[in-house]
């Protein structure tokens, strides 16, 4: 029981003090779970980060679930995941209830006009960062180009286009190319 409480509190602390989402959490999780508490090994952490990148959902949740499970099975996983989620849930829930009134204050509304511009820049920055990680092979570059164009065209002509369908299509295409090319895992290498 003590370890469950400790998992919950530790991950609540991690959730409360990390700004900037999942990637910002990784060094802190490493520091606490590997160095201070020895809950997992450095190798475990590398594996989790790799798995987190190829599974959907928030990276922080992946990490918390993994560490919790390693330490205390399913109850541990539940405790750590709840812990890492709770602080942001409480904070955002409180903000949600005052935000509309808050936006009616002129100075706040003006600030948010500027902030709106920052969000666009941040999203573009995230895309550029991810482009750096893509393999520069014909298949990958084609998918990148087609996905961008299709979504922009859909917006321009006010068509509805499901992004989920796009993701599934890209996954199937890459899979098909790798199977036909006979080199699974090296998709696009033979194009």
């Amino acid at each position: 029981m003590r370890i469950i409480a400790e998992l919950f509190l530790t991950f609540a602390k991690i959730g409360l003090f990390t700004f900037g989402g999942g990637y910002a959490m990784i060094p802190i999780i490493e520091n606490i779970c590997i160095e201070k508490k020895s809950w997992i090994t450095g190798e475990d952490m590398l594996a989790v980060t790799a798995i987190a990148e190829s599974t959907p959902g928030p990276i922080a949740i992946n990490c918390a679930t993994f560490v919790g499970f390693k330490k205390k099975g399913i109850p541990g996983a539940v405790a750590a995941t709840l812990g890492v989620t709770l602080p942001s849930f409480v904070i955002i829930f409180l903000i949600a209830n005052v935000l509309d009134n808050f936006l009616e204050i002129t100075i706040v509304a003006n600030a948010f006009k500027g902030i709106k511009c920052a969000v666009g820049v941040l999203i573009l920055g995230a895309a550029l960062k991810m482009t750096g990680k893509i393999k520069k092979k014909p298949l990958q570059l084609t998918i990148l180009f087609v996905a961008t164009t299709v979504l922009l065209a859909a917006e321009l002509f006010s068509l509805h286009f499901s992004s989920v369908a796009l993701i599934v299509a890209a996954a199937l295409l890459s899979l098909a190319v790798s199977v036909i090319g006979g080199k699974p895992g090296k998709a696009g290498g033979e194009l």
């Binding site: 959730g15 409360l16 990390t18 900037g20 989402g21 594996a47 987190a52 990148e53 190829s54 599974t55 959907p56 959902g57 928030p58 990276i59 949740i61 992946n62 499970f69 995941t81 890492v84 989620t85 942001s88 849930f89 904070i91 955002i92 949600a96 935000l99 003006n110 600030a111 948010f112 006009k113 500027g114 902030i115 709106k116 511009c117 920052a118 969000v119 666009g120 820049v121 941040l122 999203i123 920055g125 895309a127 991810m130 482009t131 893509i134 298949l139 990958q140 990148l144 996905a147 961008t148 979504l151 922009l152 992004s163 993701i167 996954a171 199937l172 890459s174 899979l175 895992g185 998709a187």
Partner: protein, 186 residues
């Protein structure tokens, strides 16, 4: 019915957001607009609020939208839906450990998913910036939006090109808020 929509919508986000917080934004936009939960303006405000408060962006957005649509139960349901797929998948992976991570077919599929998601994020960024700068009839909206966007882009991207280090998103949001107050208030 509304609770069911919140649950289904955020389950979809939780299942298909590969590649971190910003990868989830195009899908969240999709879901949010198709149910008519928020407009573009409120969504970008909420992204900024989520960046400036602790915790994962997806969880923050789910909590906010859930709460704005269905109060406390809505917030709870949306947040649960967005984290559940990651929780379940990780549980399975942790139990089997490493047999999945080296899987060739999973690897091949990811080789297609990552560039696709990157393209989606690109398109979303362009749409949001264009939405601030242009009116719906392709005229310039307000020159002040253009000036702020250019200033922020220079601030954010130039240090990255020069010293390979970016200023943090929270700092950029703070600066943008100050710029907004100065340019639209005076």
């Amino acid at each position: 019915m509304m609770y069911l929509e919140l649950f289904a919508g955020f389950l979809k986000v939780g299942c298909f957001s590969f590649g971190g917080a910003y990868a989830a934004i195009p899908i969240i936009r999709d879901v949010v607009f198709s149910y008519g939960w928020l407009n573009d303006e409120m969504l970008s405000y909420m992204i900024a609020v989520s960046e400036s408060t602790p915790g994962p962006l997806m969880v923050n957005l789910a909590t906010y939208i859930g709460s704005s649509q269905g109060g406390f139960p809505g917030a709870l349901l949306a947040t649960f839906a967005v984290i559940f797929p990651a929780f379940l998948i990780m549980l399975i992976v942790a139990a089997l450990m490493s047999r999945v991570s080296g899987n060739k077919y999973a690897e091949a599929a990811m080789q297609g998913i990552i560039p696709c998601v990157t393209g989606m994020i690109f398109a979303t960024g362009c749409r949001m910036i264009a939405g601030n700068i242009f009116t719906s009839s392709f005229g310039i909206n307000d020159i002040r939006f253009v000036i702020i966007t250019v200033l922020l882009a220079v601030l954010y991207f130039c240090p990255a090109a020069a010293v390979k280090k970016r200023i943090s998103p929270v700092i950029l949001i703070l600066i943008s808020g100050i710029l907004g107050i100065i340019m639209f208030g005076i």
